[in-house]
Amino acid sequence: MIELLKKTNIDFMGKKYYAFALSAIILVIGIIAVVQVARGTANLGIDFTGGTAVQIKFEKPFALSEVRKALEDGGLKDVELQDMPVEKKVLIRVKKQEETIGGFSEKIVSVLSQRFADQKLVVESTTEIGPKVGERLRKDALWAIIAATAGLLIYIAFRFQFRFGIGATIATLHDVLAVLALFYVLNREINLVIIAALLAIAGYSLTDTVVVYDRIRENLRMRQRDPVEVVVNQSINEVLSRTIITAMTTLLAALALFFFGGEVIHDFALAIIVGIVVGTFSSIFIASPIVLLWKGKRPFAKR
């Protein structure tokens, strides 16, 4: 039998305040990120802001500055460029809030094909999103997060107890905010695909929390005499090897996506990787202490 961890006896609950301090910092950044997203000042994808994105593949290597200059000369301002030199591709984005769309991507393509007349440019994708759709997608994403949170809170409260529901919800929101904070700090684009990643992270983090909670519930019922803190600590130690092994296998898959999954999915994989790490952390250091700190009668006490 190979064992990653021998029988452990770590005092997780004793370290909860260090963990809280760390989480508080992350949460503050996360909340700033949310506010910035709501104000529209964060790096939002055009699916939320409305605008145009064109991805063009060149035949020969090109200088990004030349592309920028060509677009500026063509009267296209406020253009964001993202370089993919290995694949000889460039992603051109223009965020704007205009009533009508159409024609903008054509202009970009025609300006560039004139400047780079010596080679064939392939338009790999164009996306034009009007402000109305952007607004709808933004609203949908917000509703998705609210609905998911409410659904999960109700389910956990029903299957466990209310304080567990609160603990799981806070831990899950913590993880979502942590990933959002990272994307904000790294100035990575927050778009629809990232929202999907955030909800996938919420699912993963919750699975992890449920596993720990399940053991806490089982042990609380069995050991009515032991203090709650001891039971919680012991439960976490008992499921620790499972927690780490599952995190590892999921990480293996996410890492494969990150390194080999291609440009479209790169940031998605990054979000998942970070999400797995904080998800594991939060079920031990956030979800469990909240149950412990909750004032009231002992959970799952025999009548």
């Binding site: 039998m1 190979i2 593949k57 769309i101 159409g102 991507s105 392939v122 338009v123 790999e124 994708s125 164009t126 996306t127 009007g130 109305k132 759709v133 949908d140 994403a141 509703w143 998705a144 609905a147 998911a148 659904g151 999960l152 389910y155 299957r159 629809l192 695909v193 929202i195 999907a196 909800l199 996938a200 919420a202 993963y204 919750l206 699975t207 449920v210 596993v211 399940d214 053991r215 089982e218 499921v239 092994i245 590892m248 296998t249 999921t250 293996l252 898959a253 996410a254 890492l255 494969a256 996506l257 390194f259 999954g261 291609g262 440009e263 479209v264 999915i265 998605f268 994989a269 998942i272």
Partner: protein, 540 residues
């Protein structure tokens, strides 16, 4: 006990075979299957999303207000007719969706109130101002969206796209998905063209006609209209014809025409539109009117010999030939320096009919085929590497039990693909990510059980007892954790669009199938090992 195991084995076998049959159309092996197989077995598996196979995703808003305005003009026209038949002298005009009648007399008011029930009187001080009733306006807008959908469907059918999706969304929006379209610009032009075809007489008799400039530069149209606004006779309008440079296809000039506003004939009386070639081999569109249209055309041409008749499409003049003679038979033509594709597309839109109202583009996502191929390749690579890594890890860590978990994992992947194929689910790039993620999470159920079994073994239980209680105790944990993931997946499905929906589908199917393989698949293998092989120790 043994009978139960047999049933489970049969269940596993059947689902596995079913899944393979369902997924077969997505593999190259399908081509080599015998004819009878191709005919009777499912031939349509997982559908690739637009992001993977390339294509167009378009969203339009049907401008219902415009449809109401057009309807208001029609009402005004019939009201004019109605009043003149009753020999009531009145002036009927429209402003937006309002119909304005002057003078304001109680006689006119009573007549309208009695016979035109679709309008509400909103002002009667100097003139009678009518507005189309709200319920009526809503019905018109709704009909316009339905009709636009039908027209677009006709146009796309004739354009020829495999498996297009054209649906209404919300109150007045239309979502169009065209997979694998090679020339997106052409498709967009085809869909977006309002295609209102009108024949209007040129008013050369009005004195102002001679004052109009011969030609102007593109962009100066509004100035000209403003300049002549006061001089244009009642019931006339200025429209323009574009002059095109034959080599660059650029618009180099505009020619103004003074036309009678009232069309003598419109495109709804068209029977057919075809591409034909003139003596120089240049394409034009020949029109064939239906019987009613042909009759009107004959009358109009007969009554207006030596006058000019303009052919107007979406308020652009295409030509204005002089009528030399009464034309019977009902055929006409539109020329305009077309390329072959342009002529073809024009004939398509004319045949399919005009849109009831203009469309406003809300969203346009175009993916070229090469990007999709790259994404599929990358997805495959990541999937294979991720699977190998997880499989190896499980064998190294849990030995024989790890192998059993890997078996469950493969079962999982095959069943997932089979389930997706049976639903004809759309696989998108985030969907592929969902599958790969599911692979990582799929072993979680087994890890939970194995860790429980290890605990039971440590507590001194026999292997068989350890397996049983390991399963029993892990069950509710697995159940709870799967349900929570299903909740998020359901939410994603509800609120997600396109690619995100694809992710939600793979994630939720993956979770459900995972529950099945973990509880039936792995357990059965353990049962077989325990009962048949009488295993004394557990390799875990």
């Amino acid at each position: 006990m043994k009978k139960k195991i047999l049933w489970k084995l049969i269940l596993l076998g059947v689902t596995l075979v079913l899944a393979i049959i369902l997924f077969l159309p997505n593999t190259p092996a399908f081509q080599y299957m015998p004819e009878w197989w191709k005919k009777t077995m499912p031939d349509r598996g997982i559908v690739l999303g637009l992001d993977l196979q390339g294509g167009l995703h378009l969203e339009y808003e049907v401008e219902g207000e415009k449809a109401v305005q057009i309807q208001a003009e029609r009402y005004a026209f019939s009201l004019r007719d109605f009043l003149s038949k009753k020999e009531i002298k009145a002036d009927v005009t429209t402003r937006g969706s309002q119909i304005i009648v002057s003078p304001s007399t109680s006689e006119i008011m009573n007549v309208i109130e009695k016979d035109f029930t679709v309008v509400d009187l909103i002002d009667s001080k100097e003139k009678l101002v009518y507005k189309i009733k709200d319920s009526e306006a809503r019905r018109i807008a709704d009909d316009a969206a339905d009709q636009a959908l039908e027209t677009i469907r006709n146009r796309i059918d004739q354009f020829g796209v495999a498996e297009p999706t054209i649906v209404r969304q919300g109150e007045n929006e239309i979502v169009i998905q065209l997979p694998g379209v090679q020339d997106p610009k052409r498709a967009i032009n085809l869909i977006g063209k309002t295609a209102i075809l009108e024949f209007k007489l040129v008013d050369d008799e009005a004195p102002v006609a001679a004052e109009l400039p011969q030609a102007i530069l593109p962009g100066e149209e509004k100035e000209i209209i403003k300049q002549f606004a006061e001089k244009i006779p009642e019931g006339d309008e200025i429209l323009f014809k574009s002059t095109i440079n034959e080599n660059t296809k650029e618009v180099i000039g505009k020619i103004p025409f003074l036309l009678k506003k009232q069309a003598v004939l419109t495109g709804d009386l068209l029977n057919d539109a075809r591409v034909s070639f003139d003596s120089y081999g240049l394409p034009y569109v020949s029109l064939e009117l239906n019987t009613a249209g042909a009759k009107i055309f004959e009358e109009v041409t007969g009554a207006n010999i030596e006058k000019r008749l303009a052919i107007v499409l979406d308020n652009n003049v295409y030509s204005a030939p002089v009528i030399r003679d009464r034309i019977s038979g009902g055929s006409a033509m539109i020329e305009g320096n077309f390329t072959l594709d342009e002529a073809k597309d024009l004939s398509i839109v004319l045949k399919a009919g005009a849109l009831p109202a203009p469309l406003k583009m809300l969203q346009n996502v175009t993916v070229g085929p090469s990007l999709g191929e790259d994404s599929i390749e990358a997805g495959k690579t990541a999937g294979i590497i991720g699977t190998i890594a997880v499989v190896l890890f499980m064998i190294l860590y849990y030995r024989l039990s790890g192998l059993i978990a890997d078996f469950a994992l493969f079962l999982n992947i095959i069943l997932l693909l089979g389930a997706m194929a049976s639903l004809h689910a759309t696989l998108t790039m985030p969907g592929i990510a969902g599958i790969i993620l599911a692979i990582g999470m799929a072993v979680d159920s087994n890890v939970l059980m194995f860790e429980r079994m290890r605990e039971e073994l440590r507590a001194g239980k026999t292997p068989a007892a350890a397996v049983d209680s390991g399963y029993r105790k892990a069950f509710w944990t697995i159940f709870d954790s799967h349900v929570t993931t299903l909740i998020t997946a359901a939410v994603l499905f509800q609120f997600g669009t396109g690619p995100i929906k694809g992710f939600a589908i793979t994630l939720s199917l993956g979770v459900a199938i995972n529950l099945f393989t973990a509880l039936i698949g792995t357990k059965t293998v353990f049962d077989v090992l325990m009962s048949r092989m009488r295993m004394r120790s557990l390799s875990i």
